[in-house]
Symmetry: C3
Subunit: 350 residues, 3 copies
Amino acid sequence: MVFTIEEIARLLNGTVEGDKQIKVDRIAKIEEGFPGSISFLSNPKYENYLYTTEASAVIVNDNFEPKKPVKAALIRVNDAYTAFTTLLEQYQRMSGMLIQGIEEPSFMGDGSKHGEGVYRGAFSYIGKKVSIGKHVKIYPQVYIGDNVSIGDHCVLFPGVKIYKNTVIGNHCTLHAGVVVGSDGFGFAPQPDGSYKKIPQLGNVILENHVEIGANTVVDCATMGSTIIREGVKLDNLIQIAHNVEIGKNTVMAGQSGISGSSKIGENCIIAGQVGIAGHLHIPNKTTILAQSGLTKSLEEEGLQLFGSPAFERKPYIRSYTVFRRLPELLERIEELEEKVLNLKPTESNP
Amino acid sequence: MVFTIEEIARLLNGTVEGDKQIKVDRIAKIEEGFPGSISFLSNPKYENYLYTTEASAVIVNDNFEPKKPVKAALIRVNDAYTAFTTLLEQYQRMSGMLIQGIEEPSFMGDGSKHGEGVYRGAFSYIGKKVSIGKHVKIYPQVYIGDNVSIGDHCVLFPGVKIYKNTVIGNHCTLHAGVVVGSDGFGFAPQPDGSYKKIPQLGNVILENHVEIGANTVVDCATMGSTIIREGVKLDNLIQIAHNVEIGKNTVMAGQSGISGSSKIGENCIIAGQVGIAGHLHIPNKTTILAQSGLTKSLEEEGLQLFGSPAFERKPYIRSYTVFRRLPELLERIEELEEKVLNLKPTESNP
Amino acid sequence: MVFTIEEIARLLNGTVEGDKQIKVDRIAKIEEGFPGSISFLSNPKYENYLYTTEASAVIVNDNFEPKKPVKAALIRVNDAYTAFTTLLEQYQRMSGMLIQGIEEPSFMGDGSKHGEGVYRGAFSYIGKKVSIGKHVKIYPQVYIGDNVSIGDHCVLFPGVKIYKNTVIGNHCTLHAGVVVGSDGFGFAPQPDGSYKKIPQLGNVILENHVEIGANTVVDCATMGSTIIREGVKLDNLIQIAHNVEIGKNTVMAGQSGISGSSKIGENCIIAGQVGIAGHLHIPNKTTILAQSGLTKSLEEEGLQLFGSPAFERKPYIRSYTVFRRLPELLERIEELEEKVLNLKPTESNP
């Protein structure tokens, strides 16, 4: 797949500055560019690399003015970053993801069916009464339990495990080792100190355009459904407990976790290693900083939280700044005490 | 599986208030009840839903007195919550978990055997000299290494990986992606800065009634055994390091971790994302709150710990309450300093 | 495999004190020794067990002088701990790890090849154009994507998933459930609040002697490579994001995570549940204590960090010590305020 700069400029709706017939066949970061590769410049911090890069072509913003001579051909576009992303997508579409057909041995139970253009890898397992849409990729060693429904254009990477009754929309991507629909952690304490399992009879619903990172776990509901709304993106090694609901377009970074029955709003940003206690309500557009622990519901939209237990980011940072000076504060209090003690006699003196 | 209210009341040892012949075939939360479903009311906070629910029947406590008219039939029992749990169990027993037999292809090595009523899913792998009891369910893509012993009535969900020499009791449930018996993290630093692996030759013992959540890992011992005692319940994505021992009926929530050689007592409650350092001793009935980090052994039973490094919950909360006011404290100290400075001259004045 | 004490002493370059013909066939901790087992004493804390152990032989340091009579035969060596580790290795080499050959069904795509002495377990999947070296062990249910390259003497435990284009050196060990090469968490926010996936086109490089614990995830780079340098050891359930680079001989304990594009130096020690933010630079020989959260790059080598956000260990501990006394500090401030208030009148009195 070799392209001329001109062909790429046409794809990106851009204009070429330099030799339109130069050919490129690889994509590279500007600081790692080599002859035959195309790169981009968006963040001004990287501008210096433009003057030294070995890349054959660089995508830049329309209004960009070089301060030194540039060896590479330039493709000028409205927004270099977006254009480059479009290019990456095209590249990926052409260079992979085209696999389809059925590898053997694979297993499909009674009453299951799937649409056209599906890939079913070797050692994949599909239970009974499973419904799978069009152009779904089921990689090797994936498990899909009974009565699961999967929409169109989903990708289940190797080793994904889907428990029975799960409902998955269109355009969902689940990375290797993801578990969806495992039992919620529900046990009733008994008088003798042991625990009795509370049956977990609900399921999980993933709406359209959900992406879930490797080895993340989403438990089924005790009753009803654990729901991950449209456009939610979950990173790796995340824990979503039973009966949780995550609102549209919320994103969560790696190793964060949400306890049972908490409801997270839309367009929230939850950073890495965050913990959210059970039965909380988190409004839309909430941001929770890394390693924070949320223990209370919030009333207001758009807050930024920090700390464990978490409160608002700005006061948290102010408190933490003083925390760093605590030994000094203690000394100042001790000095004050001494001074006040010395003052004391004067009080009764006059 | 359709039942009359009367049949259900008999099962639960309860009495019917309303039409005994009403039929139900589904279970629902009271706020989501629909015709043909049965629900329950235990927590008074949900009482209002009783007067509006579409559920055909609701299980309530014997002594409950409705404040408004109720459309649903009532089943009165001693303890509505426990009765409902019983009902869920019956439902689950009847609606699933009945799978047995051997799907092909599956693999079983020389000298391995299993009892009656076993399910071995497609693509499951059983090594050599493995002993498996009665009514064990081994789902697809499970791996069981050589010399493993598994008791009766265990369930190994898809993709569970059991390393060699592991010993598992009766009635254990391991969810998808669980790893038991992987090498402990033991490396001896060398003079050149590299690390030399310390062979991990021990195993893991899971006693009876242990349940382990999805993608949780239990490492084998360096020598001897990592031991999870009877009735222990581990949530998802937990890390149990080599030579750890967890006492009877202790429960751990998601994403918590225990470092090497620590011994946890019985009936402890360890919340989510807790970390416990290595070589510690935690007495019985200890409670550790979410995201806490335990760095020291405890002497006394029944303590509640919080914070990182953790200390007792009440003083921690008191300290944290003041932490939130630290900027104010700093100001008050500064004011004091100013005042005392202004006072000073008076000291030498009189 | 039964050995005389004399044979073992010769292997370890040691001298026997006691009956050289005593036979042992098992290894045990000194406090759990039994007849027929051999143990070791290195840590003086365990010396008392030497006088009561049932082990037939105990390895001790050359210069060790027993304070009481010892029943076991002694093998004196230069360094008892190192000698014992050598013994464990020999034991492991002889008692396992010798498996080779191809179990069926297993899958290998077109253009893939492997060297001599390889084990390919049942239900393992090797894609197209994969290159695998000599004496590699690929356990059951392992997935290896297209164009992956694996060196000699690697071990991929059951269920390991390697995405396409990954490059793995020699002598690497990946434990069950490890995922290497999954997509980095890269999404560009759109004006309508949704997120658009940024294609992840890079790969992962694991250099020689890398060991990765169970269910740990290493994401591929957006472009270029996520790189784990020679001798790095990662524990279980760790998250390594896209474009991270980890320097030679750095070790990370369980459940820690590194965000995108951060570069970690050589010979660092990162304890459990640590979080490292994105785009940071961590110099060589940095130590980060458990549960800490690093939010800023460091300039200096060899620092010890603690807390979240982390700063240097000693000042952190000093601040935390005062944190524990905060309620008392508040009281002292209140007392001071009262005293100063009472002083005030004296100021204007004289």
